[in-house]
């Protein structure tokens, strides 16, 4: 399985989780939907940044050996 396929397969449960997790506490379905979509975007950016940083740390360690 390629990395692109793995990332694409990860997205549907991620979006569904964000949408439904926004329900408790929301006063209406519209508010939950808006909050869920906003959180999806926000958390996707955080997730991509984390994966990106980990990717470069892993590459650095592979090139230079472990830090200890």
């Amino acid at each position: 399985m390629s990395v692109t396929t793995a990332i694409l397969l990860f997205l549907p449960p991620f979006v569904a989780t964000e949408l439904i997790a926004a329900l408790p506490g929301a006063l209406s379905a519209r508010e939950a939907l808006e909050r869920g979509l906003r959180n999806t975007g926000r958390h996707l950016v955080l997730w991509a940044m984390t994966i990106g940083v980990l990717h470069y740390v892993a590459k650095w360690v592979m090139a230079h050996g472990p830090l200890w």
């Binding site: 399985m1 569904a16 989780t17 439904i20 209406s28 379905a29 939907l33 869920g36």
Partner: protein
């Protein structure tokens, strides 16, 4: 008793206890049972159509996608996959319906996306649990409002 069996029995016991507590409350009983049978239907039955669709569409889409990815073999709470079955219990209706319809299938080979399919169905069923918790909140708020109005 193997530790896996202990975990299985404890988790099924926990689900049954939680369901008994919810069903025991007459304010929640009918919508809770509907939501357990068809994700989102409990919300729709109390007039919360938007919330119901917000639960129903993602849960059913993920559930069906997971079944397709795993060749319709990932739902089997008591024989093929008892551990995944624990996660699938909160969407009892779709889980037991699928189990009944796919009981004759055997797990001859594990495809590339099989585990992803199991994960999709597990996530869908656990998301229905979040939907059921929200349903309980909505029912309790409506009951409090009604009690305050009279």
């Amino acid at each position: 008793m193997p530790p896996t069996d202990t975990i299985l029995i404890a988790t099924w016991g926990l689900w049954l206890l939680a369901a008994a507590v919810a069903i025991g409350d007459p304010r929640v009983r009918r919508p809770f049972l509907l939501g357990l049978l068809v994700p989102g239907l409990g919300h729709i039955s109390i007039g919360e159509k938007g919330r119901g669709l917000l639960v129903m569409i993602p849960v059913i889409t993920l559930f069906v996608a997971g079944l397709i990815l795993s060749d319709f073999r990932c739902v089997s709470p008591f024989d093929r996959h008892p551990l995944w079955g624990v996660l699938q219990a909160p969407a009892a209706g779709p889980t037991f319906l699928t189990w009944g319809l796919t009981r004759h299938l055997t797990l001859d080979h594990i495809g590339e996306t099989y585990q992803v399919g199991c994960l999709y169905v597990g996530v869908a069923c656990l998301l229905n649990l979040v939907g059921l918790c929200d349903l309980r909140d909505v029912c309790m708020k409506a009951a409090r409002r009604k009690a305050g109005a009279t």
